[in-house]
């Protein structure tokens, strides 16, 4: 039976002497999704990944990958995991194909059969026999993904995968990741400090700061932050509408704005329909009613700018 979570950690901690790089991380990564691991540089993202992959030991806590406890069943857990940690590295004097042969040899006979399809998948078939030292950064990133595909991975762990890619390469990379999730059912765990990247690629994310998970859950819920919900209204009679809104229990606050009226709801965005009906009953013509979409960037900056404040824990159901 497949585990429901691709990655699960509990109290995962890594200390380097006096410094705690990862501090009691509880991470839940659902299967079959693109999951962002978002945080500023030095937040502990790479250290967490290195512990998950057995590259460094955890100081405390438990973790499991694809349902297998790590490090106890590390070998089994990693059989169907592909990973790029930091920059993808290769033997520069070997060709792309030879570099894949090296890793395929370690993975087993099945992996060797996947070399050609993997190279084709990342668009490197024609350059596969060139030495890697002649590759651009983008080509190395793609070769790194091809190396991951040798495992026919159920889980891909990608650490800052778009570093060094040009805009075209980034777009291509996003499409490839989405296709892996949506068409092939793989799970992608993507660490990044780029909000835009996580927001565009991922279904859910965890925000990490100073070694702690601040919040995690679906991107939309993270952006909303589980706090206030807002609407923008365009009406024919602003004064009449403000009066009606002020009297409504569904509205916490309503004020004029450049766009019309900005309304902060007391409840959930589902109350928007009732507000519309209430305004119409009050004789107000509603030309526009639009939920305000908070961006993940706003939420991220809101969280990570509280550098001197105690870290607040908040969890949203993934």
């Amino acid at each position: 039976m497949q585990a429901e979570r691709a990655i699960e950690t509990s109290g995962l901690t890594k200390r380097f002497g006096e410094r705690t790089a990862v501090d009691g991380v509880d991470l839940l990564v659902p299967r079959g999704s693109a999951f962002g691991f978002l945080g500023p540089n030095g937040a502990g993202k790479t250290t967490t990944i290195r512990m998950l992959l057995g590259l460094t030991h955890a100081s405390a806590g438990q973790m499991s990958v694809l349902g297998h406890p790590v490090p106890a069943e590390r070998a089994t857990a990693l059989q169907r995991v592909g990973a790029i940690v930091e920059d993808p590295c290769f033997h520069p004097y070997l060709s792309g194909r030879e570099n894949l042969r090296v890793v395929a040899a370690v993975r087993g006979p099945e992996a060797a059969k996947r070399i050609a399809p993997a190279l084709a998948r990342v668009g490197l078939s024609e350059r596969a026999d060139d030495k890697v030292k002649q590759y651009s950064q983008g080509m190395r990133q793609r070769l790194g993904v091809a190396r991951c595909l040798l495992a026919d991975p159920l889980l891909l762990i990608l650490d800052e995968p778009t570093n060094g890619l040009d805009p075209g390469g980034i777009q291509e990379f996003r499409e490839m990741i989405r296709a892996m999730v949506e068409q092939e059912g793989r799970t992608v765990f993507l660490s990044s400090h780029l909000l835009d990247e996580v927001e565009k690629i991922c279904d859910a994310a965890a925000i990490v700061d100073r070694g702690k998970i601040i919040t995690q859950g679906p991107i939309a819920e993270l952006a909303e932050g589980g706090s206030r919900h807002e609407l923008i209204l365009g009406v024919d009679d602003v004064e009449l509408a403000l009066g009606a809104l002020a009297a409504s229990e569904l509205v916490r606050e309503a004020r004029r704005s450049d766009e019309g009226i900005r309304v902060i709801l007391s409840g959930t965005p589902r109350d928007a329909a009732q507000i519309n009906a209430m305004l119409v009953r009050a004789g107000v013509g509603v030309a526009r009613l639009e939920p305000v979409r908070h961006s993940l960037e706003q939420r991220f900056l809101q969280i990570t700018s509280r550098l001197d404040a105690p870290v607040e824990r908040q969890e949203v159901q993934a």
């Binding site: 940690v85 030879e98 370690v106 190396r147």
Partner: protein, 261 residues
């Protein structure tokens, strides 16, 4: 781990060494050029003054060639190959990508040794072939080695270069630094070993010098290198060689198993 995977891993490690052209050129130069120079110079000397200089080949030429190949330049080649095998993955940053396959780190270490030996022995065999060529081509009226001596010489060539190569794999895996490992091993081989062997006041402590222990397995008397010969029994020599192998392979395996990748 199955035999098929072990063979694949050996093949991959051998590929990495085989394709390392820069290192391979140096290895070939170190192993072959001195032997060629030795026989060439001796042949020129003999042809210019046959009364003063004996022919370049024959059993004396074989002995000189074997000494050069097995105690001096062959081990240097073996060091270069062993260090490349021991540090190649780590210095290229590829070691972590091998670790994340889930394969045991001990298996990753273990596959380096036979690959390094295969590369080292390929070169040593060419070197030994050159020694034999010089021995017979320039023998003139001198005795030449018989079949048994040739076989024993081959075995000694493989032993002396193979042990140094395996020790270099272990030491390089321990340090994970190519420059540090090369400097330390060549320094030990060329400077420290002869120096220690020549300090007679050290007594039986000199038995621990690897090149001295290895020299005891030579089928012809070649000394321990740089004029010094430390007397020890064949059993002691065997223990010393086994200890060098065990200690450095164990240290290399331990470091590979425990280091942060």
């Amino acid at each position: 781990m199955t035999a098929a995977i072990a063979m694949q891993m050996f093949g991959a490690d051998f590929l990495k060494l085989r394709k390392r052209r820069g290192t391979l050129i140096w290895v070939l130069v170190l192993a072959l050029l001195p032997v060629m120079i030795l026989f060439s110079v001796k042949a020129v000397q003999h042809s210019s003054n046959a009364l003063k200089y004996e022919p370049a080949g024959g059993t004396p030429g074989f002995t000189d060639g074997l000494r050069l190949l097995c105690l001096f330049f062959g081990p240097l080649s073996a060091v270069l190959i062993g260090v490349e095998a021991g540090t190649g993955d780590a210095s290229a940053g590829v070691f972590r990508d091998l670790v994340v396959t889930g394969r045991s780190r001990l298996a990753l270490f273990a596959s380096r040794v036979p690959a390094a030996l295969a590369a080292c022995w390929s070169v040593a065999l060419i070197g030994y072939g050159l020694v034999l060529l010089g021995t017979f081509a320039f023998a003139s009226n001198l005795h030449t080695p018989d079949g048994a001596l040739i076989v024993n010489g081959l075995a000694f060539t493989l032993l002396s270069t193979g042990v140094v190569c395996a020790v270099a794999v272990g030491f390089a895996s321990l340090t994970t630094s190519k420059p540090a490992a090369i400097t330390a091993l060549i320094g030990w081989q060329l400077v420290a070993s002869p120096l220690i062997a020549n300090i007679s006041s050290l007594g039986s402590a000199r038995d621990g010098v690897l090149s001295q222990a290895l020299a005891h397995f030579s089928p012809v008397h070649i000394g321990g290198g740089r004029g010094a010969t430390v007397a020890m029994s064949q059993g002691t020599a065997l223990v010393v060689v086994a200890a060098w192998l065990a200690v450095f392979l164990a240290l290399g395996a331990w470091r590979t198993r425990t280091m942060d990748a």
